[in-house]
């Protein structure tokens, strides 16, 4: 286990980590010629580690998944783009006001051939978080201003003009709640994207890779297929804000996470998410390469059939898909 992961250990992972450390020590010991046979102890310990890992990660609570989705080592949008594409060219600016580094996007070759499909030029874009103090600030913690949504829309309309499919990656705690964002029409920018994405005449595959909070996530989240990483979360509000509003205290985030039913398995029955992309045990950050592989395969699987659907049918299906979202009774 790398030093990096040790530093960013989640609370519920600590017992596992301690046991893993013990196992490592034992292994090191067994490599030295101590004269005693450690193989039996070693084997027993390995079994205990496996059991504990299984019991922790197969029974993750919703709040624990939220924590994994926020893990500082989790692959972000540019990591996915780097792994999934070749020759990616990032494009900047909304042509109206400015450039927003909280959303990145550009054209590249999706290496579908690596994942059982074909290579394909795509527009790929998503929310981008930073990894250290400086880049987090630069990326505004992945919380876009209106310019981010308008840049995304500009690129999507360009993709449509050149008949290039779109892949969007969602990872945000929400649109930036700032004074200037309001002045420049945060609400209008998001609304416009919902409208234009609903009728964009090229296939759109959406992947929720980390956090998907509120209109800030949905603002680039309308598409034909909605895929979601196993430990990502997607809801109308973050558990913390929900706690503060409904419980009038920040202390009920675990209860809020439970009540919001914000995990991928929760959202499948409602038709909000089409497919869950499995993560390596422990979360995407434990084995990014395996994660990218799974994402790549899921994109191939979902994008390929869309490429041959006639445009009008594609758009009719997209409308029907979102029209069907909602659960109510008629009395």
């Amino acid at each position: 286990m790398s030093q990096n992961i040790k530093l960013n250990l989640l609370e519920f992972e600590k017992p596992l980590y301690e046991l893993e450390q013990k196992l490592e020590e034992m292994r090191a010991l067994s490599h030295e010629d101590t004269g005693s046979d450690l193989s039996k102890t070693l084997q027993a310990l390995e079994e205990r580690v496996d059991e504990l890992r299984e019991s922790i990660y197969k029974n993750l609570t919703r709040w624990q998944r939220v924590q994994i989705a926020r893990h500082p080592d989790r692959p972000y949008t540019l990591d996915h783009i780097d792994a999934l594409t070749e020759g990616f060219v990032e494009l900047h600016g909304d042509r109206l006001f400015g450039e927003d580094p909280a959303i990145v996007g550009g054209f590249g070759t999706f290496k579908g051939s690596r994942y059982g499909g074909k290579d394909q030029t795509v527009l790929i874009l998503g929310h981008q978080k930073g990894r250290d103090t400086k880049t987090r600030k630069f990326r505004r913690f992945g919380m876009p201003n209106p310019e981010g949504y308008r840049k995304a829309l500009r690129l999507m309309k360009m993709a449509a003009r050149f008949d290039i499919p779109v892949i969007t990656l969602l990872d945000t705690t929400g649109a930036f709640p700032g004074l200037e964002a309001e002045e420049r029409g945060q609400a209008e920018a998001i609304a416009r994207n919902l409208f234009e994405m609903a009728r964009l005449p090229v296939p759109i595959v959406v992947v929720i890779i980390g956090e998907g909070a509120s209109g800030g996530a949905l603002g680039i989240g309308v598409g034909d297929r909605i895929l979601m990483l196993e430990n990502a979360w997607y809801s109308v509000i973050s558990p913390e804000s929900c706690s503060s509003i409904l419980w009038r205290s920040w202390d009920y985030k675990e209860e809020a996470a439970r009540a919001l039913k914000l995990t991928a398995p929760d959202l499948i029955p409602f038709g909000i998410v089409d497919q869950i992309i499995a993560e390596p045990i422990g979360g995407a950050h434990r084995d990014p390469e395996t994660t990218f592989e799974a994402v790549g395969r899921a994109i191939v699987e979902n994008l390929t059939p869309l490429l041959s659907v006639p445009t009008q049918e594609l758009l009719d299906n997209r409308l029907a898909k979102f029209d069907a979202m909602g659960t109510f009774s008629e009395v």
Binding site: P177, G178, I190, A191, G215, S235, V236, L319, D323
Partner: protein, 281 residues
């Protein structure tokens, strides 16, 4: 379609049926603190005759003031199914039941079709008294169907917004109502049918970030709070006080997000005039 005859029984509506006005003969204006008689206030369509403060009006109030005569109410039989079986300090189910009982409403939106200045129009309106006018599956469905009804009958649509945003107790389903309603608007737009929005106090969150900002023409009542993030959240983010009049109708007009601010007492005439201009070419 039989828009002009009331089909379902029991839709007796009174002009100016309100929700923001305290009980009693006399009402203190929330804008200027003047005391007004209830009768006078209702005659003024719940607008303070002195300071122009707009008290909140219910969907039924708007239907009565806008439509030329009778109108047909739709989808007043849809209620929340509590899809998440959500519980915070109390179960959502109980909250719904208590609110339905207290307000006599099924949920936070109503839809109707009628004539405005002789032009048929499909209208949906939100009601802040029902869990802050929040949008869950029911509100999303009512608004979406109202837009769809306009599209299918080749008539314009109007949404009157009054909402704190998406309803937390329905989680991601509430969020998806933003996409659902916006998706329906694409067809209306492509069919060349006008979509009007009337923004009233307050309109925030996911409602502003979807159909409320997608109108061909955005009308707003004076002094309404309109925004995406709430003022408290922004204040916390900025760590400073917000400028006077921030996120009001007047502010949005100045920033370019509202076409016109309309006094409720002129609303019907203004809408009828716009309909005539756009439709009788």
């Amino acid at each position: 379609m039989s828009w002009f005859k009331r089909t379902s029984a029991g839709i007796k509506t009174q002009r100016g049926q309100q929700n923001d006005v305290p009980e009693g003969q006399w009402v203190k204006c929330q804008g200027c603190s003047e005391t007004i008689t209830r009768r006078e206030l209702e005659r003024q369509l719940l607008v303070c005759p002195r300071c122009q403060y707009h008290f909140k009006m219910s969907p039924t109030g708007y239907f009565n003031l806008l439509f030329d005569g009778d109108y047909e109410v739709f989808d007043d039989n849809i209620i929340s199914a509590d899809p998440l079986q959500f519980t915070d300090q109390k179960p959502y189910k109980d909250r719904l039941e208590a609110t339905r009982k207290k307000t006599g409403l099924q949920d936070a939106a109503k839809a109707a079709v009628g004539l405005v200045g002789g032009y048929p129009i499909s209208v949906s309106a939100m009601d802040f008294t029902f869990i802050g006018g929040s949008m869950g599956s029911v509100v999303g469905e009512i608004v979406a169907r109202s837009i769809k009804r306009a599209y299918e009958n080749k008539i314009p649509a109007l949404v009157i917004t009054q909402s704190g945003g998406a309803r937390m107790m329905e989680g991601a389903l509430s969020l998806m109502q933003m996409a659902k309603t916006s998706a329906h608007l694409t067809r209306l737009s492509e069919a060349g049918l006008p979509f009007f929005v009337l923004l009233t106090n307050p309109t925030t969150g996911g409602v502003t970030a979807s159909f409320a900002m997608l109108g061909d023409i955005h009308l707003a009542e004076p002094g309404a709070l309109i925004g995406f993030a709430g003022p408290r959240v922004i204040r916390e983010t900025m760590g400073q006080d917000l400028p006077d009049g921030f996120q009001t109708s007047e502010f949005l007009l100045q920033k370019g997000y509202i076409d016109r601010i309309v006094d409720r007492r002129n609303l019907k005439d203004e809408l009828a005039h716009l309909l005539a201009l756009l439709l009788s070419k």
